[in-house]
């Protein structure tokens, strides 16, 4: 079994993002970038499956600018066998990303495609589902447990009401929740080894996909600052206000 894992380079989750003064986006210059956190879980799960002898190859793919290579390299350092970088510039919407991934899937013919459930930059939560629609494959989103069976997977999904278990036949798409596993650290010797693993570079323009944005981002703003309300003088007054004014109790 062959597993393709899609990884995205995003602003590190510890960095306090800053909106550009001209409201065209957020500042990314000299900002620490990292792998999208649930994508780390996706890689970890794929590597675990391979270590358990149930997969033969783990391929990490990223789509983005030249520097997204670091994200692929990181995936290689924690156990992916080889990498693919689809080079693009400018904003890519999930629809375009899933179309590019579709081309990679057609080329690599993996049995499974893993990725994080959502990217922490645009917070879209679309790519996995879109890819599975384009391929007409089954999907298991928000996976918190994956069991590999013969020609299928049993996946536990984190849904609002609790947990849902589904069985999907391969080939299939799985999007991973942070609760799926604890990603390992990249060890120094493995980082060294990763430097020697191959990363195939492909220009997005060579894949014959129209990636023109369909959505115009007209403005990016800081969240509105909350204003201080009133001070109440007693608990009785507080409860009365919550009941009659705010109507929340």
């Amino acid at each position: 079994m062959k597993i393709l894992v899609a990884v995205k380079r995003v602003i590190d989750y510890n960095v306090q993002i800053r909106v550009k003064e001209d409201n065209t986006g957020v500042v990314t210059d000299n900002v620490k970038m990292s792998t999208n956190p649930p994508d780390d879980n996706a890689i970890e799960e794929a590597v675990k499956i391979k270590e358990a002898g149930k997969a033969t190859e783990v391929i990490a793919v990223s789509i983005g600018e030249e520097k997204a290579q670091e994200t692929v390299r990181k995936a290689l350092a924690v156990g992916a066998d080889r990498g693919i970088l689809v080079k693009t510039e400018g904003i890519l919407e999930p629809l375009a990303v899933s179309k590019l991934l579709q081309k990679i899937v057609e080329k690599e013919k993996p049995d499974l495609v893993f990725m994080g459930k959502q990217a922490i930059d645009d917070d879209c939560n679309q790519t996995g589902q879109m890819l599975s629609a384009l391929l007409n494959w089954p999907q298991a989103t928000f996976a918190s447990k994956i069991e590999i069976k013969d020609k299928s997977l049993e996946v536990t999904r984190e849904i609002d009401e609790g947990l849902e278990t589904i069985e999907i036949n391969v080939p299939a798409i799985v999007t991973c929740d942070l609760r799926l596993n604890e990603p390992r650290y990249a060890s120094l010797p493995n980082i060294m080894k990763a430097k020697k693993k191959p990363i195939e570079q492909i220009n997005a323009s060579d894949l014959g996909v129209d990636t023109t944005p369909r959505i115009e981002q007209t403005k990016v703003e800081e969240p509105p600052k909350r204003k201080a309300g009133i001070k109440v003088s007693s608990v009785a007054e507080l409860v009365q206000k919550l009941k009659n004014e705010a109507k929340v109790i």
Binding site: D12, R18, Y185
Partner: protein
């Protein structure tokens, strides 16, 4: 337990200006040398904080064509000011009356973090292997006592010291020579100085704490290339310190404050002095209408020549501010750190190539402009122990009339942890509350640093005696850690009417001030799990 081993010709600890310069110079001298560089931050530059007005002298030697290589050195100093601040007034000091070391017209306003990122690119292009996110946590010695290399930190240890599922053991990096370039108060450098008695016969090292904020300001207040320094208010005459305000590119100003850690009053809060400083009319008018976008703090070396330890030992060298090469009157340490790295590389090259002893470092150092520069600067800082006025008068005589050539050397008498007076002998200081426009509290400041440490790991701020903060330091000094820490790591918390010393290690921005200033030297700063700490952008 056996750890994996990797062997190199040279192992460098720390990706600041000195370590990166060592790496680059080594590869320039011999491209076949295997050189690796460890950095505790998640990426090069993320733990770098500096003013910075940059003198290019060392870079001109290291990479003469830096101007053609898209280096982040763009803003030439175009105007200089020096102000003495009173509480509300300010007096401008004519720049022609400044010692030449404080004249900057040939220098550039830069972000040192960005310069380091660029230097790292140059180093990697030359074949240096750079490993960010890997703190060196332990020095390894040969049987003969010489330094063999370092071990990296184990990853995946929980609070209680047990191995988690994700446990990844550290590895041993062995070098023919190991270069320690951790910056001011490196936690391994500290051990080396002690083990090899490198500071024997030297004055105690002197430190300061430096704060920096980056503000995006109103266009009308911005003058790209302008460099301004102040002395005086809000510090009293007996506390050493001053500010910098550098107008960088993109409407940013780098605003900072440095306070000598030899201050005496345990109630003094360096952070609050800095915040208060911004409310001075001469400063407020610059930042008013602007927005603070970054914050950080870092200890720096102020001891200079008298306190500079021996920089070589069997198997290893100590470079940059891990030893203490900062030039205090110049308020610059980047070019000197880089030069010390260049000299180190030359010494190592001859050591490996021609089997010369590492002590040739000393000879090369003594014949360099670095030595001359530090020697000339040596009397300025100690003269300020007489107070601001006498310090200035003496500095004028020493630096302008004699150009640092007076035939005597003033001594640093005390280490910084020895200078605090008991709290009951000193006045309390009432700092104004933050207005959240110009001045801020510590937590909202730390928030801007992007600091984090994964929560389930051992506390990296170790107490030699866990009872001491409450039983002694609180009683005698009102536990000054609450105030000298620029990140609010240390708190005294009342729990059921009993005082408790709380260490919020997750907030630590790796400035090392606690390791320096704690009156009983009770706090030992050790490396946390790799990648922890601040994530500075263009600091």
């Amino acid at each position: 337990m056996s750890r994996e081993t990797m062997e190199y010709d040279v192992v460098i600890i720390g990706g600041g200006p000195s370590g990166l310069s060592t790496a680059i110079k080594l590869k320039q001298l011999d491209s076949n040398l295997n050189v690796c560089l460890l950095e505790k931050a998640s990426e090069i530059g993320a733990h770098i904080l500096s003013g910075n007005v940059f003198e290019t002298r060392a870079l001109d030697e290291l990479i003469p064509n830096w101007k053609e290589l898209n280096s982040p050195i763009k803003t030439k100093v175009s105007k200089e000011k020096f102000l003495f601040l009173g509480k509300t007034k300010s007096l401008s000091w004519p720049t022609w009356l400044l010692p030449s070391v404080q004249q900057n017209h040939k220098n550039y306003i830069i972000s040192l973090a960005n310069l380091c990122r660029w230097l790292a690119e140059q180093a990697e292009a030359l074949g240096v292997e750079i490993f960010p996110g890997f703190p060196a946590s332990e020095i390894l010695y040969n049987e003969d006592g010489s330094v063999k290399g370092v071990a990296t930190q184990d990853m995946g240890i929980d609070k209680e010291g047990n191995k988690k599922d994700s446990f990844e053991p550290g590895i041993e990096l062995l070098g023919k020579v190991t270069v320690f370039a951790e910056g001011c108060r490196g936690h391994l450098g500290k051990q080396l100085i002690k083990n090899f008695e490198l500071d024997k016969g030297k004055d105690p090292q002197q430190y300061g704490i430096g704060f920096k904020e980056i503000w995006e300001i109103d266009e009308k207040n911005h003058e790209e290339g302008m460099v301004m320094h102040t002395a005086g208010w809000p510090l009293d005459k007996n506390t050493y310190g001053g500010s910098f305000i550098y107008h960088a590119e993109n409407k940013q100003v780098f605003l900072g404050y440095v306070i000598g850690l030899d201050y005496k009053n345990p109630y003094l809060s360096p952070f609050d002095e800095f915040q208060r400083f911004k409310t001075h009319p001469a400063i407020k008018k610059i930042v008013e209408g602007g927005k603070r976008i970054s914050y950080g703090a870092r200890a720096l070396i102020e001891g200079g020549f008298q306190s500079l330890p021996k920089m070589f030992m069997p198997g290893a060298l100590l470079v940059g501010c891990d030893a203490g090469t900062l030039n205090m009157p110049k308020i610059k340490g980047s070019h000197t750190a880089m030069k010390s790295g260049i000299i180190a590389a030359e010494a190592i090259h001859e050591h490996i190539e021609d089997k010369k002893d590492l002590s040739i470092f000393e000879e090369k150092f003594k014949n360099s402009w670095l030595h001359e520069e530090l020697y000339k600067a040596r009397n300025v800082k100690p003269s300020f122990s007489w107070g601001l006025i006498l310090g200035i008068i003496f500095t004028g005589i020493d630096q302008i009339l004699f150009r640092g050539k007076l035939p005597f050397t003033l001594k640093h008498k005390h280490a910084d942890h020895e200078t605090l007076k008991p709290a009951n002998e000193m006045p309390k200081i009432d700092y104004p509350k933050p207005d959240n426009v110009i001045t801020f509290d510590k937590t909202s400041s730390v928030y801007l640093t992007g600091t984090n440490h994964s929560d389930n790991q051992p506390v990296h701020l170790q107490l030699k005696d866990p009872n001491l903060p409450i039983s002694y330091t609180l009683e005698k000094f009102d536990e000054p850690a609450q105030r000298y820490c620029p990140a609010g790591v240390y708190e005294i918390q009342k729990e059921n009417e009993v005082n408790k010393f709380v260490i919020n290690a997750q907030n630590c921005i790796h400035c090392k001030t606690c390791d320096i200033k704690e009156p009983s030297q009770n706090i030992n700063w050790v490396t946390p799990e790799g990648g922890g700490g601040p994530k500075y952008g263009n600091m």
